[in-house]
Amino acid sequence: MPETRTDTREPEGLVQRLARDDVDRKRFLKMAGSGAAASFGAFVIAACGSSKKATTAATSSTSTASSGASGDIAIVNYALTLEYLETAFYEKVVQAGLFKGKVGALIKDFGAQEATHVEALKGTVMKLGGTPAAKPAAKFPIESANQVAELAYTVENLGAAAYLGQAAKIQNPEVLAAALAIHSVEARHAATLATLVKKSPTPDGAFAKPADMSTVLAAVKPFLV
């Protein structure tokens, strides 16, 4: 027996709309010009980057909403910086040609996915009324397949922990939804790399550990030129 529920707790946002409504998704994708694509990713990028409507955060520079927006802008720019680094890392790895076959295809996929994270986060910062962080110059040691896979495992675990560490600080529920959608993908990357280096797909056990911004930035400092 279908149950009609009226959830009055919070307004229906991006998450509810796009998860619920296939018609809505398709309409949005048409707007974004990617008619054939049915991926949630294309939808997120379109939603993050294409809105011409001013958000509550962007319209006012003095309301409390904008202090939320400036906090969110900082968080998203931090995530954007990490995504730039991950994208650069995978690009170098693919260039080095260390992985073939199925593993090579996975590595390429992950790099492409990190690049879509960059696009989405750039768009999100702009939609919030901010300026996206610049792409940092990066350097990574690329010596052997196993060394690279170990490094990738470390980086992806760090990325997942970074997103988890910020989730509670994000004010805007749509930004949070996007962050969660990315967070779990980084976890998938980490688990995949774990199988390559014969390490645990769940190194923290049943509950993943968050990492705070200073910890993460200190950990990635060696990769910044």
């Binding site: 509810q16 990190e114 993943a208 990492a211």
Partner: protein, 215 residues
């Protein structure tokens, strides 16, 4: 002359003397400790110091977590009860053991948290899992884990309490790791939604999980 860097270690603060642990605020450390303690020792291990932290969050969060609890009961039963019945071997067997323990930890933690929120944890349902081979077991595992990711990602933005949100995030990250590992074992993409995991509504989750719940 009082040393302001010394944190009192007596009474209720004993064992909670660290104001910051790896950048976590004290209250989120309490929560994580509570969840871990709840996972290991049951609700009685959660100190009364925690209930104040949860007082404000309300029934909405408890209801959301009860939905998550139903899924965790389901996954735990699947790995821990159905798995041995099917007879698994190799990596499938070791994943079922490890992931099953972790799902059981999720059950305990959610039950404990729901009680701390002033809610009543739902009772464990009876499940039916229509699988009888390793292959069909793994396929259903993939469905359950990937659905679990979507369920948490769909529900989490509605959570009012930010520490509960972090706890949910700590769980969904692990479900995503499970999902990727199981998918790889099946020769499937570990990232079926590519760069962005699709959030699911409650109805979409129940479409997958509902048929397995016998009531």
């Amino acid at each position: 002359m009082q040393d302001h860097t010394t944190i009192p270690t007596d009474g209720a603060n004993a064992g909670l003397a660290e104001v910051e642990v790896k950048g976590l605020t004290r209250s989120s450390f309490i929560l994580r400790g509570a969840l871990a303690a709840g996972a290991l020792y049951g609700a009685s291990a959660v100190t009364p110091f925690v209930s104040g932290a949860f007082a404000a969050s309300g029934r909405g969060d408890a209801e959301i977590l009860n939905f998550a609890l139903t899924l965790e009961y389901l996954e735990a039963a699947f790995y821990n009860e159905k798995g041995p019945q099917v007879g698994l071997s190799g990596t499938a067997k070791s994943y079922a053991k490890i992931f099953g323990e972790q799902e059981a930890d999720h059950v305990k933690a959610l039950m404990s948290t729901i009680k701390q929120l002033g809610g009543k944890p739902v009772a464990k349902p009876t499940f039916v899992f229509p699988v009888n081979s390793e292959s069909s077991f793994l396929k259903l595992a993939s469905v359950l884990e990937n659905t679990g990711v979507g369920a948490y990602n769909g529900a989490a933005p509605s959570l009012k309490d930010k520490e509960v949100l972090t706890a949910a995030g700590a769980i969904v990250q692990v479900e995503a790791r499970h999902a990727a590992a199981i998918n790889l074992l099946l020769g499937k993409s570990p990232t079926p939604d590519q760069g962005f995991d699709r959030p699911l509504t409650k109805e979409q989750v129940l479409a997958k999980a509902g048929p397995l719940i016998k009531k």
